[in-house]
Structure formats: structure tokens, C-alpha cells
């Protein structure tokens, strides 16, 4: 293992610790989090699906990020009560969810796979599940129409599900997860198969659900899309949670690692000379009209950069922290 890899692991632990503490603090203030996992492990025979995971999901949207096979779906199955943990404790709305029928009316789940009852129409499909779930026919019918409208499927409601496109099937899966107005909503890869317009609509819907106070757990591996839905994330990799919290919290927890800042300027060489005097600047790489800085403490660096720009010594056209996004954080942690 290289030195970088060692650092990455240590940083990951630091981030996890900081974010978990933040989560615990939040839970302490607003009461118990609606979804909590305490030292949860799950294994499939000799294969570990989740390894000693502790997480708390607060109301609002939380993104569950990680590559395929990271353990996201295992975590979602545990939260939605489809399986019991091999070790540890899962609590949803104060109860263990596994096979807990009384709790399922308060949980909505949209699985990752796209299978549905193809011989039914979209409307019939949704109605049947609501009716089966205990709603009287009239109420189920009204909820069916509302949910179809909400996911943009009303026009295709009478079409057989077998004739639905991938995106329409995704919308129907989301509709059945939200139609009964659950408090906890678990959406496994909800943007899969959707066209750009559909993605936009579902992203808006997820944000709206979060804003309404639902606890929404949404998984994905397209990072910028998850970032559009929420700033609060949990990064899962190889069955472990590498980091949890808001992107900013995680980034702060990662401050011991250098930040990377790209500055576009008419005189990148002069800018580099000026800013290298700052004690927190570790290195600089100069290009044709931009300079890339590696910075230990971003605060003082940005102050100095602002002063340079304000004094007009050197024209600074734009600057950005290139690792302030999810992709960079994820790359740090899984490296």
C-alpha cells in the first residue's frame, strides 16, 4: 500500500467520525433519527454485504453513494425490512423493520430492478398495491390518481406496464413508493433509465419530498445527480460507510488533505509567484492562462487571492475549488 493510500484510509475514518458525531448531535437535538443503523453487518454466506455500519438518517434527503456492489442495496433492504441484519440493530421510526408489517405503511420503497406486473395497466398496478396495502377502494383510487399525476404518468395510466419504456417503469416504481404518503422513502437508483427531462422532474420530486419533511434515502452512483438532490450524503464502499454528513462537513473533515484550487488569470506565472509566499500553499502548477494550487489551509489562501484580485496587481478572471464536489470527495475516500 502506498503512502497516499494510507492517508486516504486515515482521512476516511476521520471524515466518518466527524460526520457521525454531527449526525448524533443532530439526533440528540431533534429526538431520535427516523432511520438508524447501529453497528450493522450483513453477510451473504461468506460475502460481506455491510460491515459494521452505523448511520443515522434525518428528515430530508440523504444520498447514498457508492459504486455497484458497494452495499447500498443491502442497506436499503435492511431499512425496508426485507432482511434482518446478521449483526447490529436497525431501527426505523423506533421499530425494527424486518418483516414488520405494522411499520410498512410508513415506509415506501422503490427497488433498483425494473420488474413490475406487466399484464396490468399502470393505474391498475398502483391501485392494486394500495388496495392490497389496506386502503379502501375509493381512497386507493384517489391516491392512485394523485401519485400518477405526481410522477408524470397520468397520460399513460391506461397503458399496460409491459408496454412502458424504462423511464416510465421507473416513474411507476417511484409512484408506488410514495402513493401511500410514507414517512420514510427509500429510492434505489431512482434516476436510472430516465431521459434528461425525466431526471430533472424526479430530482425536483425528491427535493420536494425532502422539503415536506419525509426522510428520503436515495441511492446513486452518478455523483453530480445525487448532488442535485441533496447536500447530505453517505459514501458507501465495500460494505463500509467511508463518510457521512453534508458535502461541506465531509470536506471540512478532510481538511488535513490538501485542497486543489484552479485560478484563471491573464498572468498565472505572476500569480503563482505572489501566492507561493503564503505559508499554506504547498505547490503550484502553471498552465497557459491558469494556475493550479495545492493548498493546506484554504481560508487564508482565498483571503490572499481576494486581496490580490482587489488590488488589481494581477487580473483574476475566475477561481474554483476543484475538489469541493462529490466526485473529488469520493475519489479521495475510495483511493
Amino acid at each position: 500500500m502506498s503512502a497516499n493510500e494510507s492517508n486516504g484510509a486515515a482521512t476516511g475514518e476521520a471524515a466518518h467520525g466527524a460526520a457521525s458525531n454531527a449526525a448524533s448531535g443532530a439526533a440528540g437535538v431533534s429526538g431520535a433519527a427516523p432511520v438508524q443503523l447501529a453497528r450493522v453487518s450483513h453477510w451473504y454466506g461468506p460475502v460481506i454485504g455491510l460491515n459494521d455500519v452505523s448511520l443515522a438518517f434525518q428528515p430530508g434527503v440523504t444520498g447514498l453513494l457508492g459504486p455497484n456492489g458497494a452495499g447500498k442495496s443491502t442497506l436499503m433492504r435492511l431499512v425496508t425490512g426485507q432482511m434482518a441484519p446478521s449483526q447490529g440493530d436497525v431501527q426505523v421510526l423506533g421499530a425494527q423493520p424486518f418483516a414488520n408489517a405494522a411499520l410498512f405503511g410508513r415506509i415506501g420503497h422503490s427497488p433498483e430492478h425494473e420488474q413490475l406486473w406487466d399484464h396490468l395497466s399502470g393505474r391498475r398496478h398502483l391501485f392494486a398495491l394500495l388496495h392490497y396495502g389496506g386502503f379502501a377502494a375509493g381512497e386507493a383510487k384517489a391516491r392512485t390518481e394523485r401519485a400518477l399525476e405526481r410522477v408524470g404518468l397520468a397520460a399513460a395510466a391506461e397503458k399496460k406496464v409491459g408496454a412502458y419504456s424504462k423511464g416510465m417503469r421507473q416513474r411507476l416504481r417511484i409512484a408506488q413508493a410514495i402513493a401511500h404518503d410514507p414517512e420514510v422513502i427509500v429510492l434505489d437508483e431512482p434516476l436510472n433509465g430516465l431521459d434528461p427531462v425525466g431526471r430533472r422532474e424526479i430530482i425536483d420530486l425528491v427535493r420536494e419530498l425532502g422539503a415536506l419533511g419525509h426522510t428520503v434515502i436515495v441511492s446513486g452512483h452518478v455523483l453530480h445527480e445525487v448532488e442535485k438532490m441533496t447536500r447530505r450524503i453517505a459514501l458507501v464502499h465495500r460494505g463500509q460507510v467511508l463518510a457521512e454528513g453534508t458535502i461541506d462537513e465531509i470536506r471540512r473533515a478532510l481538511d488535513q488533505r490538501p485542497h486543489h484550487v484552479r485560478v484563471v488569470s491573464d498572468d498565472p506565472r505572476g500569480l503563482a509567484r505572489l501566492l507561493l509566499e503564503e505559508p499554506g500553499v504547498l505547490s503550484v502548477r502553471v498552465g497557459a492562462n491558469e494556475a493550479h494550487f495545492e493548498v493546506k489551509e484554504p481560508g487564508p489562501f482565498f483571503d490572499r487571492l481576494a486581496r490580490v484580485a482587489a488590488d488589481g496587481w494581477i487580473v483574476v478572471r475566475e477561481y474554483e475549488s476543484t475538489d469541493d464536489n462529490l466526485q473529488a470527495i469520493f475519489d479521495y475516500l475510495v483511493a
Binding site: 433492504r77 425490512g81 426485507q82 418483516a99 408489517a101 430492478h113 420488474q115 406486473w117 392490497y132
Partner: protein
Amino acid sequence: MTVRVSGLALLRGRRGATLALLCLLPLIAPGLELWREGAGYKGGVGFIAVLTNLCFPAINLIVALFVGCGAIGEEIEGKTLPYLLTRPVPRSALLLGRWLTAVVTSSLLLGAAYAVLYLATVGQMGGEALWVDLPLLGTALAGMALSMVAYSAVFVLLSVVIKWPLLVGLVLLFVWEPFAASMPGTMARYTLLHHVYTLLARLSGDERYTTLARPYELELLPAADSLQVLAWVGAIALALALLKFRRKAYLV
């Protein structure tokens, strides 16, 4: 509630069509015979012959296998089980509801086919024969329903416990049962069909039904004993299936 959804899924799906076709099979033999010779299976003897050769040793069993393995198997195969498992309905109600719906539906369909078969065979002997031989039909329907319950309960258990229930079920039906029945001594009593045949012969009191027993070298037990065996096997299999299903994780 469970029954309603199960019925909906069962009757409108491909599985419903297959089940309906299977249940119509008892009509094939007399149909073919009529088409070939213009006459064939006639009267009570003809009715019992179709039951003996086709219904009880094959069709009923295949339908029961289909019903038992499909109660949950269809949803596992179609990956639609998570939608049902994450609703506020106890797992035991889900399994029991789906099994019950399938048993009742298939028994009604088979029963209708038996009734048509009865009309087609016994009806050829005139209106009075239809009335006189009615106990034959009654016994056949009771035997069919009982065997459906007992066998399908065993197959539900298989579908919950093992990975290839259809294959194991076929082996049980068409390898184990004929093998055990052909063994000397009391080995035949370890087959469900033995008890179904015993009941048919005992309940009808009709000598013609004992022909069912012949291939099994059957020593008839008292009706109550066979009834108890079928009831216990069905109840225990179902209870074990429910117990297992309540705690089983499905990775679909």
C-alpha cells in the same frame, strides 16, 4: 384483501391462462375419443376411466404442483416479491392468501371440467343415469379438492424451503410415488395418492372406484385414517411453510 390481489394477479397473468388450460385437460381424453370413433368413454365406467387414467394420477398432481410452487414462486421469479413484502400485510397472510386463492380457483376450474366430463360421459346413458351416478361426481370432486389441498401445501413448503421446488416436486410425484406404490408391503401408505384413492373408494362405496387402487396394489385403510393423513400432511406442510416464510430474506 390478500385474496383479491392474488386473484387479480393469478387470473390476469400468463400463469392464470396456463392454469386454466391445465384444468381443461380432463376433457381431452373423451374429446379425442369422440372425435376418433364417435363414441368412447361412456357412462360411469367411462367417467371413472378418465379419472383413473388421466385426472388423479397426472392432471390433479400437475395442477397442485403448479399451484403450490407458484403461490410465491411466481413473484420470486418475476422479481415482484419486494412490492408485496414491503406492504403492511403480514407475510403469513400473503402466503396463505395466495395459496388459498390458487387452490380455490384451480379447484373450481377443475371441478367445472369434471362436471363437463361427467355430462359428456354419463350423459350418454340418458337423463336417469345422470341422477343415479351423481355420487360418482361428488366423490370425484371431494377427492380432487382434498388432493389439491394436501399436495399443494407440500409444494408450497418446497417452494419456500428449496431452490428448485418444481424439479423436486416432479421427482416426488412421478418417481417417488409410483416407486413407493409398487413396493410390496405397506410402503404405498407413504404416498399421498394412496390416501386419496382410499378415500375415493371408501367414500363412494362404489366398486368401480376401487379400480383406481389397482395399480397401487392397494390395501384400503379406513376412510378416517386416510382423511387424517391428508389433513395432517397438509396442515403441517403449510404451518412449516408459513414459519419459514415469515423469517426468510429474499434477494430479488
